[in-house]
Subunit: 239 residues, 2 copies
Amino acid sequence: MNIQSRSQKSPRTDEEVIRSCGLFRGLDDTQRAVLTSMAVRKRFKQGTPIFVQEEACPGLFVVDHGLVRVFRLAPNGQQHVLHLCGPGQTFAEVAAIGGFALPACADAAQPAGCVMIPTDRLQQELALNHQLCRQLLTGMAFWVRHFVQLLEDIALRDAMGRVTRLLYDSPCDASGRIQLPGAKKDLANHLNLTSETFSRVLRRLAEQGVIEFDQDRSVHVIDAQQLEQLSGQSQNTDQ
Amino acid sequence: MNIQSRSQKSPRTDEEVIRSCGLFRGLDDTQRAVLTSMAVRKRFKQGTPIFVQEEACPGLFVVDHGLVRVFRLAPNGQQHVLHLCGPGQTFAEVAAIGGFALPACADAAQPAGCVMIPTDRLQQELALNHQLCRQLLTGMAFWVRHFVQLLEDIALRDAMGRVTRLLYDSPCDASGRIQLPGAKKDLANHLNLTSETFSRVLRRLAEQGVIEFDQDRSVHVIDAQQLEQLSGQSQNTDQ
DNA sequence: CCGACACCTTGACCTAGATCAAGCCAAAGC
DNA sequence: GCTTTGGCTTGATCTAGGTCAAGGTGTCGG
C-alpha cells in the first residue's frame, strides 16, 4: 500500500544496480565506483540453486532483476522462506560481512540477474574504508530491526493479521493494485502459513469487500482503511 | 549444555564489564579505554522499566549483573520476550548504532546493574573510529544470524524441539546442572509458548528420564545424548 | 503467624490452523 | 493436439498447543 511508480528497465549497468540498492544508499560516487569495480555479474535460470546453507559465502549479492528466494532448510527437509528479494535488494550480506558460513539457502524464484561483490574483496575494502563500514553498520542495524518485526509478526499475530500486514506493506500502483511478489506458496511460507490458509484468508478478505482479485493474479485494494485497521492490530479482536 | 565454570563477582569496574562483553571482543586496550571513558553506571530494582519502545535510545547497555528482559509490546498489550540478557550481554545496541527509536521495551527481571554508553557519544566515536566500526559490524552480523536462528526455531520446531534446544544451548556446570535464567513464564514466552505448555513439556522430559528437577529450581540433565538428539531435530519424528 | 500475591503445575476443554484429499486451471513439453 | 506438471482453491478432518479453572507452593510484609 505504499504507492510506488516503478518502471523496471531490465538491462542496467553494475553501477546503476548498486546505486538502486538500499544498503548502499548514502555512499558517494567514488565509494560506489570502488564497489562497482569489484562487481561480478551472475545470472540464474528459474529454479536453479544459487547457494546452499553452511557453504562458504561467495559474496554479497544485489538483485538486478527477477526474484530470489532465500530460505532456511531444516534437517528434516522442511523449509522456511526468510526473504523474497526483488530488484535493488541484497542477500547473503550478513555472511559476507560477518565472514561466516551461509546461514540459509537461495534459489531463483524467477529468472534472475544479480551483481555480486566477492567476499574477500569486500573484506579487504572494509578493512580500509571507514565510510563503507559505517554505511553497512547502519544497514545491518536496520536489518536486525526488520527481523525483530518479522519475529513479532509470527509470534504475536494470527493468520489474518499477517496477511493483511503483508498487503499493507506491499508496494502498489496509484489505483491500489498490488502485484504479489512471487508464488503464493512462497509468500504463505514466509508468513509461516500453509498456502491453503493463505488462500482462505484472502477469500475471507474478498468476501468482506476489502480486496478484489484481478484477472492477472494481482490484488486490488478496495477498502484501504479497513485493511490498515486489520493490519495494525494483532490477534483477532473484531466483531 | 555448554560446560561453563563461572564465578560471578558482582562489583566489577566499567572496564571489566566492557571487556567481558562479547560484542566488544576483539577491541584492544586503547579502544576499550575510549568506551570506558564514556560509560555511565545504571542500576535497576527488580521489575522496574528500563525503557519503553518507540522512545529515543539513550545508549548501548552492557549488563554487569542481574537479568534484563527485553520484550516487544503489541498494540493489544500482548508481549513477546525477545531476549533475556545476563552478565556480559548487551541490549539496545541496534537502536544505538542504527540511530533510530527503540524497537522494544526492557525491564529488570532481576535486580540489575548495567554500564551504558550514551548514543550520541557512541555515534561520535563511530564517526571517527574505524576499528570500533568494523568490530561492531561483525557483531551486528552475528546478531542477525542469531535472529535467523530464533526465527527458524519458532517457525519450524514444535514445543518439544524448542524446549530441548533451549536446554541444550544453556550453560551448565560440570555435573550437568542447568540454572534456568529467569522465570519460567518468561522463558516460555521467549519460545513463543505458554507457561503451561512449557511446564508440560518439562514433565514429559522428566518422565522419559532425560532430565530431573533439583530442589533449587535447577534442571539436571540425565541423558545428554537423548537431549541432543531431540534438540537436533525439528518437529516430532519419534515413535 | 497470617494473609496476599506471584509463580508454577495439572487437568479439562476448545479452537486456529495444519493436514489430507479432490478437483481446476494454465503453462510447458512432446 | 494431448498429457504432464505445478500452482491454486476448497472442503473435511485432525491436533498441537492455547485457554480456562483449580489448587499448590514459596516469599514478602505486616
